[in-house]
């Protein structure tokens, strides 16, 4: 049985989506001439500013292109569904984003993305554009803490890109921008849970199997298996299980501040996310952790996958300033 989607030809879904994105968000975004998969902020790149280029596979909307705009990313290279973009659009993004102060590549830590962005960086070096890379590795479930560099980047991207984008927008030096980006990544912890699969537009088949009463804790945003499959539990227990894993690593002190993201993987509605946030807020309050700001909704999705993730962004004064720095993107505004 095929899944149902409001698409035309699955092979053209990404390109047609981008046409629709530009039609809707022409005030914020444009595509590099001749490279429709290189999406650039109209207001963003400028001389002397470190350029921030993000990117990754499609199917995670509003990540990543929704976070392109003044105060956040300067450009986004768009890949096929769940597939890294090839070097070409990455290179075009970097050129468009470059203000001759260096270009920061930020994206989730996946083998494909690493290879493509690295190839792009090598080619850019020949054009005298220095690109440095900060991988996001916020998915607590995807490797033990002592192998954090192996972890995947998931919804916590949101905070990490936000911090880096603010640093760039404040015209900080390349070194500073890179430092803040790395620090933001180190301070960001995500755990996810999946209840039902998505399907790719090209196959219209569920991209993994999961029992009618099962959930999978720690599943990746492309349906990669997680750490544990079990019977679906009440929301409070699921939140507890996810939060406990995060807190072990984050080990906050009383009075610490965090920002919170409760993110839908796609079809899990706001009602459920807010129910989760209720528990999360209670638990944080119980341990004396102060929630500085909360976002709830679809920020990093897996097409129509059912499930949700929780991200804590452990703030200090600097990260809080970056978070509070205004940004104005096609699909996200803050500050």
């Amino acid at each position: 049985m095929k899944t149902k989607k409001l698409i035309n030809d699955g092979a053209h879904a990404v390109d047609e989506m981008l046409v629709g994105v530009l039609a809707a968000h022409g005030r914020h975004l444009y595509a590099v001439e001749g490279t429709p998969r290189a999406i650039v902020a109209k207001d963003g790149p400028r001389r002397g500013k470190v350029g921030l280029v993000i990117g990754g596979g499609s199917g995670h909307e509003p990540a990543f292109l929704g976070f392109v705009g003044k105060g956040l990313a300067d450009a986004c290279a768009v890949g096929n569904v769940f597939a890294s973009p090839p070097p070409d659009p990455i290179i075009e993004c970097a050129k468009a984003a470059s203000g001759d102060a260096g270009v920061l590549f930020m994206y989730g830590n996946y083998a494909g993305d690493v290879m493509n962005f690295d190839m792009a960086a090598e080619m850019l070096a020949m054009d005298d554009i220095e690109a440095r890379t900060v991988l996001t590795t916020d998915d607590v479930a995807s490797a033990p803490l002592d192998q954090k560099q192996k972890r995947r980047g998931v919804a916590g991207n949101f905070f990490i890109f936000k911090a880096a984008g603010a640093a760039c927008d404040r015209m900080l030096s390349f070194d500073e921008c890179e430092r803040i980006a790395r620090k933001a990544n180190d301070h960001t912890y995500t755990m996810g849970v999946a209840l039902a699969p998505c399907s790719l537009p090209q196959t219209l088949r569920p991209n993994f199997d999961i029992g009618a009463d099962e959930m999978e804790i720690g599943m990746g945003i492309h349906g990669e298996p997680g750490v544990q499959r079990g019977t679906l539990q009440p929301a409070d227990e699921v939140v507890d299980e996810m939060l406990d894993r995060i807190l072990v690593e984050m080990s906050p002190s009383r009075g610490d501040k965090v920002a919170v993201l409760v993110n839908s993987l796609g079809s899990t509605p706001l009602m459920e996310l807010y129910i989760m946030n209720r528990r999360l807020a209670q638990r944080l309050s119980d341990i004396g952790v102060d929630v500085h700001a909360t976002w709830v909704g679809n920020y990093c999705t897996s097409l129509e996958m059912a499930g949700a993730s929780i991200t804590l962004h452990h703030l200090d004064g600097e990260l809080q300033a970056m978070l509070d720095h205004p940004c104005d993107c096609a699909m996200f505004r803050a500050g």
Partner: protein
């Protein structure tokens, strides 16, 4: 036997056809331990390569064919497969630079360069449950065969057998590279999709060479 522009083009077409036929199985394999798109990526990539090389003139030399395949595959795909196969093709092109057509030994050298390109790009060692587990034994088998006096068709046939065996063996491995490298024990019992598709690719190359040889 020498391998001409025409038979390289035919070979890309043959591989594209074999991959298209295998697409759904590859997606399903990737669904178990990855993100379910490997068949799509490979189909897109080889279709793009097939079309791009088909568009080259008759005077295109093997290096131009391989480089064209590399670029078109990469731009159509991205993902992991894109850089890996693009690097493979670029290395093959470099390995036979300047030759208007390929001898049996040239072809096997190009083939071995492909395998090495994949290893270099992905920095994966055999045993890490990737396509390297098909490509590395395949390159070795092809080298041994040609050294033993076989022609290219037989050498790649030996490579195909080794690739199939190598792919099969990934089932027992824990992944150390790629998307499935976070699964630990949970990846065991499942064949790596990239290794599986490598066996299909190399099998189709062998078939194509045999057909050209007998044609």
């Amino acid at each position: 036997m020498t391998i001409e522009t025409l038979s390289l083009k035919t070979m890309f077409a043959a591989v594209a056809a074999a991959i298209a036929a295998d697409r759904d199985r590859l997606c399903a394999l990737d669904g178990v331990i990855g993100d379910a798109d490997h068949g799509i990526a490979m189909e897109l990539g080889f279709n793009a390569a097939r079309d791009a090389v088909a568009g080259l003139g008759e005077d295109a030399d093997p290096t131009l064919i391989f480089n064209t395949a590399a670029k078109s595959f990469l731009n159509a795909v991205g993902a992991s497969s894109g850089p890996l196969y693009a690097t493979a093709f670029m290395r093959a092109g470099a390995a036979v630079k300047g030759k208007p057509s390929l001898s049996d030994a040239d072809f096997v050298a190009a083939f071995q360069a492909m395998a090495q390109g994949i290893r270099d790009r992905g920095k994966a060692e055999p045993g890490e449950k990737t396509m390297v587990d098909a490509w590395a034994p395949a390159a070795e088998a092809a080298g041994q065969a040609i050294a033993g006096g076989a022609n290219a068709a037989d050498a790649i046939a030996a490579a195909a057998a080794a690739a199939a065996k190598g792919a099969e063996a990934t089932s027992g491995m824990i992944a150390a590279k790629g998307r499935s490298s976070r699964l630990g024990e949970r990846a065991v019992g499942h064949v790596d999709p990239g290794a599986a598709s490598a066996a299909t690719v190399i099998g189709a190359m062998a078939d194509s060479l045999r057909t050209s040889a007998t044609a």
